[in-house]
């Protein structure tokens, strides 16, 4: 954050009427209970994004909340990416040595973990094994942010041995629920409307940032923000853009990049850059995780936002764009289908052609864009703001730590 940390009261004009008062009352039930969140990183990725806004608000309403990461140096990122891909259905076989590396990693991290919390929430794969060393007291919850609707069996079987030792699991969608002997709750992730990624920007700020990024605003902008991996389908987005371009003069901005230890991502990134090198209206931007204002400005400058994923745990970028009243064209995958109400707040598509058709339709119809955009913002206000997520966490704490 570049500005001061927002307080709960700052969210009152943005959240649905009455929400802040309800949250204050709800928090009275769990005041002074201790909550520990454990994630892979405090800097990178959607989980860090969520916790960055959530943890201070939990503290403000009286929950003694702490947040630890198990991979501060990023040394286990490669192992984490491989397991994430396998859990999201990638068919590439995870070698046994990755599982062994995971066991060693877990043992080392568990030894350093402080106990004494009333509830411990571990997020995604890297910290899941900490439950092996859990103390008797306190509730342990595994929060899975991934699309595990069709996991690679071997990877899921490996992970499941840890998951069953928790008191509850939390998934983002009913489609991700598994056969487990523990309660499974549904909490959809949420965006922080006051964070740098989503806070209001003036037209001048947007113009300044786009000029600095070298993106002219002389034509409608199609935008996709997302890592360059095949689940985000950046090449499919380029194909769709080319079909749109036959009828509408526009630009495509792809914000992404690939980790150097992800060979498939690096190759895909090269393909995307090669395509961009032959088209002056196709821009590829590689932004650091800290460049949140830049993403904010690009989403505000975009005419249409795409998230043409083929697998997606939730896809916070969709909610971010919807909050900015943008019509979003999303892939029919995972949490995107829960955010986009077809024809009301945007469109979900199943193909390159589908994405191109909807983009053409939206470019040709400003009134449709405005109508979908307004409904999209309201849908996010009711369902996907940080205040709702705070309420769900308080309710979970009240339920599991009675």
């Amino acid at each position: 954050m570049t500005s001061a940390q927002p307080t709960l009261e700052d969210y009152r004009p943005l959240a649905p009427a009455g929400t802040i008062d309800i949250l204050r009352r709800l928090s009275e039930r769990v005041r002074r209970r201790r909550l520990l969140n454990v994630s892979a990183s405090r800097e990178i990725g959607g989980v860090a994004e969520i916790l960055r806004g959530l943890v201070p608000l939990l503290e403000e309403v009286g929950v003694e909340s702490t947040w630890e990461s198990v991979d501060t140096e990023g040394t286990a990122a490669s192992m984490g990416v491989r397991l994430h891909h396998a859990l999201q259905g990638d068919e590439e076989r995870v070698p046994e040595d990755v599982f062994e590396e995971f066991r060693t990693f877990t043992r080392a991290r568990a030894a350093a973990l402080e106990d004494g919390a009333d509830m411990v929430v571990t997020h995604d794969v890297l910290p899941v094994g900490l439950v092996e060393s859990r103390p008797q007291e306190g509730a342990w919850v595994w929060r899975c942010h991934l699309d595990v609707s069709r996991p690679q069996r071997r990877a899921w079987t490996f992970l499941r041995q840890y998951v069953v030792k928790y008191d509850a699991a939390v998934f983002s969608l009913p489609a991700f629920a598994q056969r487990l002997p523990i309660p499974q709750f549904m909490l959809t992730p949420a965006i922080d409307p006051l964070g740098d990624k989503n806070r209001e920007l003036s037209a001048r700020e947007v113009d300044t940032i786009l000029a600095r990024l070298g993106i002219p605003q002389d034509k409608p902008i199609l935008l996709q923000v997302g890592r360059f991996d095949r689940f985000k389908d950046p090449l499919g987005v380029i194909e769709a853009y080319r079909l749109v371009k036959r009828q509408h003069d526009c630009r495509l901005v792809l914000v992404g990049g690939a980790e150097s230890d992800d060979p498939e991502g690096v190759e895909l990134s090269a393909d995307v850059r090669e395509a961009a090198s032959r088209d002056a209206d196709l821009h590829v931007l590689e932004l650091a995780p800290t460049e949140r204002l830049e993403v904010n400005a690009l989403q505000r400058a975009a005419t249409i936002v795409l998230q043409k994923s083929t697998r997606e745990g939730f896809g916070l970028g969709v909610a971010e764009a919807m909050w900015k009243s943008k019509p979003v064209i999303g892939g029919f995958a995972g949490g995107i289908t829960a955010q986009i109400m077809y024809g009301i707040t945007g469109y979900t598509v199943n193909s390159v052609e589908g994405a191109a058709f909807r983009a053409r339709q939206l470019l040709a119809d400003p009134e449709l864009r405005a109508r979908l955009g307004a409904a999209a913002r309201e849908h996010v206000r009711q369902n996907f703001l940080l205040t709702r997520h705070l309420g769900d966490m308080l309710a979970l704490l009240a339920t599991l730590t009675r």
């Binding site: 709750f185 549904m186 308080l394």
Partner: protein
């Protein structure tokens, strides 16, 4: 009469719903039937009553999840219509409602001779919820105070006192009607409020109707 102050004030309660997944899913109408016979009664409640909490701005096609799934995901509009007309308020309890839904689907599948299945849509995911009651801090003693407070509270308050009161708690009439009768001594108004049915129209219509009824009663007050 209408300006009478109640001895026991009405405390408006809000709620927060924590959703729980049962890990059961149905890909066709026969599977839906089989799960329906086995799931906890709280799941029947979730899919027939608490839709109102989740679909405040953009209501589903029908006022229960079973009907909407049949019509939209399976594309079996006939079953959607048959289930859509089911009014939970017509049943004494949730087990009776479960029996009716099961019977309707069983009868439908027997009649058409095949089992409609999702081809391109989503399966039906069975869920239930835990609803945490939360005091809003608003308490009223007169009909006018009640009317004014009702106009400004969150829709979840209306849900808790109208739908949850009867559907899950099994009360004979909704909390508003009971208080208006027992504390304000207005049995006629209470009777009309008691008969208001949220199922075809949603919470906001019920709220608007109660406010209008209160206004009428207040206008006629001496």
């Amino acid at each position: 009469m209408t300006e009478r102050a109640a001895r026991t004030p009405f405390h408006f309660l809000g709620c927060w719903e924590l959703r729980e997944m049962l890990g059961r899913r149905a890909y066709d109408e026969r599977e839906l039937l089989e799960h329906l016979e086995e799931v906890p009664v709280d799941s029947i409640y979730f899919h027939t009553h608490s839709c109102f909490l989740r679909e405040r701005n953009f209501p589903g096609t029908y006022p229960n999840d079973f009907a909407t799934w049949a019509a939209i995901q399976v594309r079996d509009r006939v079953l959607g219509e048959k289930l859509g007309i089911v009014d939970p308020q017509d049943f004494a309890d949730l087990e009776s409602l479960r029996t009716e839904v099961v019977s309707l689907i069983d009868d439908h599948v027997s009649q058409i001779g095949s089992v409609p299945r999702v081809m391109f849509g989503e399966p039906f995911y069975f869920m239930q919820s835990r609803v945490l009651e939360i005091p809003t801090g608003i308490k009223v003693r007169t009909l006018r105070e009640f009317r004014d407070a009702l106009a400004r509270v969150d829709a979840a308050v209306v849900y808790l006192h109208v739908i949850e009161a009867r559907g899950r708690k099994g009360r004979r009439r909704n909390d508003f009607a009971a208080w208006i009768d027992e504390q304000l001594g207005l049995p006629e108004l209470a009777g009309v409020v008691s008969r208001l049915n949220p199922f075809p129209f949603g919470l906001e219509r019920v709220r608007a109707r109660i406010i209008a009824l209160c206004d009428t009663a207040l206008e006629g007050a001496p």
